[in-house]
Symmetry: C2
Subunit: 353 residues, 2 copies
């Protein structure tokens, strides 16, 4: 049986949810997946950092009501989040990066990933920043150090998109995609169809916890734009940067725009898409589009996300599922670890044969 | 660069489409996937059989207007389909089984698979028979002979379902699924919603080539039942046989049933499903169900298929795509070969490291 020692960088909703899964499911994973996870380090901007080579009890970590700098009270702890030391020196096989997304330069998460990969540690992350802004560099660094850089959760939380394309659509000749990649804006559009104006719908989304206090990144398409960059670079072999993708959000849609769509049996959706043109160039965009009701994405409602892959051999194949959620996003990290484990055990089995 | 020698068993629509892909895409595959396919044998009940150790030209095979027993005129040919000799003695790495589905005992396809696996040849197939009726035996035989038995195309043509669950949802704790798994019946239901009665809708499906002369297997749910058996055994670790799955088709739905559903914002769909109960037992069924319009499967129209995986960690994840089609089904065979290739090269790369 395999034990992976992991270091959690960031101890907000997602890594806390991963710790909850570890607390309740290690025995199940041992039986079904062939490994257990052992938390040997945690670092968090607010709580500080801690290294415990024998492992920290996941349940204790979740249940303790730490205050600012609280990790400092633990054996091996420090009231400061000393990320570089934690990442470079903790005896971790895998670094789990789940700090905040910086859409400008991806920092400090890009550095976290670099430190980990350069120290020969696998990285799994749900952070869009490093993937959208530095995937090429980080993948090369992983390759050079014989480890993996995995990031399924950077697009649709645990709903498989990147791995789905790589593992199940190879050779189908994907030449584009279109998706509903932001649950907040999709929820707002749905409420506008029920008669609310934009501002009221946003306020309702905020009250329900679907939208943040500053909803700009969600409703103006900036969040979707990062996801378009990730998918275009991953699925279409592009090298897009966020500025290469035209971006228009939903804040300019009026109740009468919404009503006009309904009259023509269609519906507004905020669509992130990219496709490879005849000249081989990949062009991406984010914009509200009026979809006929029979379009595969028209029925994707509320906080649900979906991506349709356009392929030469299969036509359109769509995957629909949650696009957010603590446990759903933590599952993405688990699925990355399963991928690392599967590759390494398949290689070992073959060596032994 | 790798060349896989393949033997095509059955030369109807699907294997002919695979030959078309080989004729047009070997160079692309060599570049993008790392292998070429070389047809070293073909066998067909009507055309006869042929072994050509250096390879048969795919384009010639497709273009030639062979008549009954026509393979007998080729060098190495025989006017009879000598399947056992072909499968056991052709110098093939992979046997591609695409003969007709026998829903009772899976023969002769089960024997084809047995002969191939016992001779140390991988098997890829789109044939529901061997998978629904003998998967456990055939997987064990493959394992014992160090080869693979792959069958993505047995459920939704090239739309990934089996491999999606295995490669992208491991650890998500799938405890059930429900799907629209037959395009013919789904098309018929759609036409009934437009006002046709059952018989007229079936006739239209036949004229469009969506339904066979005898539509029983499609509209009475027997085709879906085999797919429910395949998915329940694969995803839920069940050992169901077709008779274990209750089965009711759509032929008894009346125009007034259809109308009543519309009045309550719902829609009839023929749903194949299975789930694991609290006692661990897996129960499967095929039956028409009235789905509310906001249900993820309600918007799946015409010949399109879809499966929703119900998972503990992600909730519902749905994949939607073509459920039939010559090229789409041939792609499933390619995706099986990609999976065989990926596993073997990843192991070799690790060995060399």
């Amino acid at each position: 049986m395999t034990v992976y020692n992991i270091a959690l960088i960031g101890f907000g909703g997602v890594n806390r949810a991963l710790a909850e899964l570890i607390a309740t499911r290690n025995t199940l994973w041992e039986r079904e997946l062939g490994f257990r996870l052992n938390i040997v380090a945690v670092s968090d901007l607010y709580l500080g950092s801690v290294i415990s080579p024998n492992g920290l009890d996941a349940k204790t970590l979740i249940d303790a009501k730490f205050t600012k700098g609280g990790f400092g009270q633990l054996s091996g702890g420090n009231a400061e989040a000393d990320n570089e030391t934690i990442i470079r020196t903790a005896p971790a096989d895998i670094v789990v990066e789940a700090t905040f997304t910086n859409p400008t330069d991806g920092e400090p998460a890009v550095s976290h990933c670099r430190w980990a990969l350069a120290s020969g540690k696998h990285v799994v992350t749900t952070n869009k920043g490093p993937v959208a802004l530095a995937a090429l560099e980080l993948k090369a660094l992983a390759e050079a150090n014989g480890v993996r850089f995995e990031y399924e959760g950077s697009v649709m939380s645990g709903t498989p998109v990147i791995r789905m394309a790589a593992k199940t659509l190879a050779g189908a000749e994907v030449d584009g995609f279109e998706g509903i990649l932001n649950g907040t804006s999709n929820f707002v559009l749905g409420r506008m169809e029920s008669g609310l104006d934009f501002d009221t719908a946003v306020r309702e989304a905020q009250e329900l916890g679907y939208a943040e206090a500053d909803p700009t990144a969600d409703v103006e398409g900036f969040d979707v734009r990062l996801k378009v960059v990730i998918l275009a670079n991953e699925l279409l072999g592009a090298q897009l940067k966020p500025d290469d993708v035209t971006c228009k959000g939903i804040s300019q849609l009026s109740p009468s725009d919404i009503g006009d769509a309904a009259k023509t049996n269609s519906r507004w959706k905020l669509i992130g898409s990219a496709s490879r043109g005849a000249d081989g160039r990949v062009v991406g965009s984010v914009m509200p589009k009026q979809l006929p009701l029979e379009h595969p994405l028209a029925a994707v409602n509320g906080p649900t996300n979906a991506v349709s892959f356009n392929t030469k051999l299969l036509g359109s194949v769509t995957v629909t599922g949650p696009g957010a959620g603590r446990i759903e996003t933590a599952y993405a990290l688990l699925s990355d670890i399963v991928a690392i484990h599967t590759q390494s055990t398949s290689a070992i089995a073959k060596e032994a044969a």
